[in-house]
Amino acid sequence: SQTIHQWPATLVQPVGSPLSLECTVEGTSNPNLYWYRQAAGRGLQLLFYSVGIGQISSEVPQNLSASRPQDRQFILSSKKLLLSDSGFYLCAWSRGESYGYTFGSGTRLTVV
């Protein structure tokens, strides 16, 4: 069966520090991969998605970036965090766009 792993679960980082969140999927190949952010009590904001290795589409211009160095690995990064980067970050995968997404357990990021 397919599983998605996302870590860390919680993270507290100072303003200006770098960020690296990792997401991996097991049990499938060539998945579509997604990064979402969710502010407290709000909806889901799509940040990046990838349909293959090295292919990244950005939905929202910001100081975040994403990379897909391997087929089942998706990384969200920042060189310098802002207070506004705080939120709940969710990784998801799908077999394709006409299939549902499976979400990871999320990372709660607090920038202080």
């Binding site: 969710q38 502010a39 799509l46 939905e59 766009e97 997404y101 979400f103």
Partner: protein, 111 residues
Amino acid sequence: GESVGLHLPTLSVQEGDNSIINCAYSNSASDYFIWYKQESGKGPQFIIDIRSNMDKRQGQRVTVLLNKTVKHLSLQIAATQPGDSAVYFCAEYSGNTPLVFGKGTRLSVIA
């Protein structure tokens, strides 16, 4: 489209009653719809889906209704339980782009 900046609307339901959560979608070309449940501090979980060639689909205690004429989707939860308390999102798919998520509805079950 997404309304990620808005506070979530809330639906309060007595335990044992039926819940109906509504979603208006924007794209008449959307042909696949999904409902997700998100409990506090967790990622969204798939509940049920429906394709546009259907107008109703039932699962365990849940039913999704699709009205393509008015671009409306609803999720019905029978005999609502405290464990149903969560935020519910609808999502629509209309082509080779990522799913578009609705703004979400918070369901609070009153014991």
